[in-house]
Symmetry: C2
């Protein structure tokens, strides 16, 4: 092996990803050195508890509870502890002591990204975070570098594996949410407390990171509209399937234009997409990010969105990049956030909708409903009225409804969210609508 | 606009891509400056003929026939002339005069890559070429950086839009090669002389570039096995469809292992893949690169593989990267080619095959055929014998064969190419085989 310069690598955290990173750093050390033109020496692994069981066989002497001492003198610090503190303090300490940092911590970047990026700018360090947005899928470099000369119009991402697994099984097996969730928990696809996944918190953090990169704007996590999938039931899934659609939890980052002024919208919610859309064929716990750019057109990035060894691949790519940068010299390249676009509230966003209503089964009801929609500036694209048990287009029969009611499925043209929600309220109180069964956005091209 | 450092950008070539690059550089100059932290000043555009018609409205005074003077003093040189000379000479001149270079020239990189990369290493310059492998699809940075800590096992790429367009229309419309080619030429999807595309030369150049990056090895273009699609006819397409398969022109880059020793195979040929494979749903002139890595698992990158404005997006991303590097300082990061893996000849490669034969319709023929295969170390996975006009699995009827003959479709397990081709020769001369209808590789997981 050539006589490469030695770089000290400090690892913080030895969970599912951290232990794989440590193992691969050791296993492939000669190969990684050739690629980085630097010898990557794992100086130590900081953990909270020295006696916790570990997934891989790593020498005991690598472990320490003294993260701060480990960080001192490290050239590259890998933070895989998760959570805000002490991860934030350690990352800032690492940056200020001259290290480049690699992190997969989406929660930290989505909430304290600007503070961390500013600290790195001050000292000319670089922050790498390929693993923070879509696990093993290379999406950070494509957005940050490959598309740096283009204008991203929209990103639609399936960025949470747990919810995609649940929705995919509900779709393919006709199962109920609660049953699939219980199964996913048993199989390790969902946590004992599934809130972060099923309520969209994890996806919202990733959406904030993706939107910041794509639109060269700091996107605060609070500005990301977030809805989870707990309200999605078998009946909605079945209805979607009959209509040639599928429900996916999407992270949507969109550039909006109003004359010469631009703004963005960042939102996470379950939405209907056409079954022919490339995102519709993302099954199981896989992730995919669909990007529409002004010049490049449509791009899609697909792969594993989670998993210890998969995520370790992205982390190690960042470690090699950091090492190459150390050898090449020069200061780090800061985040590009000078576009400073405003993030509009969800009420100002326009999308298409599908509104499903149970209405009185009597003459004139459709006219009343249509009138309320029209007054509310919601334009109707399609209407389908079904009677319980009768065949419907796409196969199957219309769902049961209470006696003397019919079911109306209304597809709208693009409408403003605020107009739509006010209109739905008026429909609910109109006297002819017995029940608002569901209101879902329809996304796609 | 902040007072950014000014960087002089020289553009060589004003064809479909070059004119778009020039137009976008000017249109988005303020935005690009914010992203690069540098003002990108288009110093001039070198062309062969000042009076040639241009696709976009660019000021006359930008154009010059004196490329060498334009290169002197440029910070970034964009080479979009294509071809080997004078592109090679200009690129080397640019590198030696201290510029970073951006190129989309796959022919040049596939044949003179090492010379150009070495020249850049000598002076600490950087060569950017995101547009050279798959048009607008970000694949260079993912392979070069994001997967730098992983071990790529295999790449299967649809990297030529023209051939995918032709094969896709043959598949979906049941058309013949010659008719679709003529149509593609009329529509501008294929050149008047389609050789570079339909004979796989373009795909082979891209395969050499992708394999070099993925396996950290210089891959000479001569070591890439190359076959085109001119031998694919409607009958093969129909047979593939009936079997749940589709024929795609694939660039396959594969890591091979024999005990402790490793080598690679790089090959371009039309191959059968299962219709459920993600690559099977790449339609029209689109491209996609499917990557299998040891840790990351399966990844796919999808988008437009050609087109002036699409390719310009990738070029401009490189220009912004080059500008950021200029501002950050430090030397360029050279290509990682120290793995130096040997590229094995096609005869040593193992894949699965589908062999279609017309055989005498008499007892004992299958036994004879099976015996020849077995002697040749080719193991049979499936056999299907059809009689002309009878229904076949997957729908339709078996193709016509001459009187007193039957059709045998043999699917093999993995066999060595050399064994397979010797065995097919023996089959052809065996007396019981009237005609070898087709021999196709089967790729996939």
């Amino acid at each position: 092996m050539p006589d490469y310069r030695r770089l000290r690598v400090a690892l913080l955290g030895a969970g599912a990803v951290g232990s794989q990173v440590a193992a691969l750093l050791r296993l492939h050390s000669a190969e990684l050195a050739d690629r980085a033109s630097a010898s990557l020496e794992l100086a130590g692994i900081a953990v909270r508890n020295l006696d916790a069981p570990r997934e891989t066989d790593l020498p005991k002497e690598l472990f320490t509870t003294d993260a701060e001492s480990l960080i001192v003198g490290a050239d590259i610090v890998i933070e895989l502890m998760g959570g805000i503190e002490p991860a934030r303090t350690y990352l800032l300490q690492a940056i200020n002591s001259g290290a480049d940092v690699v992190t997969a911590n989406k929660a930290l970047l989505a909430t304290h990204g600007p503070e961390i990026f500013d600290a790195a700018d001050q000292v000319g360090a670089q922050v790498y975070y390929e693993a923070a947005a879509a696990g093993a899928i290379p999406i950070i470099r494509p957005l940050r570098d490959s598309l740096a000369g283009d204008r991203v119009q929209r990103i639609m991402g399936i960025v949470n594996g747990t919810t995609n697994y649940i929705l995919d099984r509900m779709d393919t097996e006709g199962a109920e949410f609660a049953d699939v969730l219980a199964d996913a928990q048993r199989l390790g696809y969902a946590e004992a407390d599934p809130t972060a996944d099923v309520e969209g918190y994890d996806a919202a953090q990733k959406a904030a990171i993706l939107a910041s990169l794509a639109f060269h704007t700091s996107v605060p996590l609070e500005s990301v509209h977030r809805e989870g999938i707990t309200g999605i039931d078998k009946a909605m899934m079945d209805a979607a399937r009959h209509a040639g659609l599928v429900i996916k939890l999407l992270a949507v980052c969109e550039r909006l234009r109003d004359g010469d002024s631009e703004s963005i919208s960042v939102r996470v919610y379950p939405a209907l997409i056409d079954r022919t859309h490339p995102l519709a064929s993302v099954h199981g716990a896989n992730n995919a990010v669909f990007v529409q750019a002004e010049a490049a057109g449509n791009l899609m990035f697909y792969g594993a969105g989670a998993g210890g060894v998969q995520t370790a691949s992205a982390v190690l790519g960042d470690v090699v990049s950091a090492a190459r940068r150390h050898i090449a010299g020069g200061v780090g390249v800061g985040e590009s956030t000078r576009a400073n676009l405003a993030v509009v509230p969800i009420g100002q966003v326009t999308t298409r909708y599908q509104i499903t209503l149970e209405v009185d089964d009597q003459p004139g009801v459709l006219a009343t409903v249509a009138g309320i929609l029209s007054e509310g500036r919601v334009s109707i694209a399609t209407v389908e009225q079904t009677v319980a048990g009768e065949p419907v287009p796409g196969g199957g029969t219309a769902p049961q409804t209470p006696e003397n009611t019919a079911r109306l499925v209304i597809g709208t043209h693009k409408a403003k969210e605020q107009d739509l929600s006010e209109t739905v309220s008026r429909l609910a109180g109109s006297g002819v609508v017995e029940r608002v069964v569901s209101v879902l956005r329809v996304e796609g091209e």
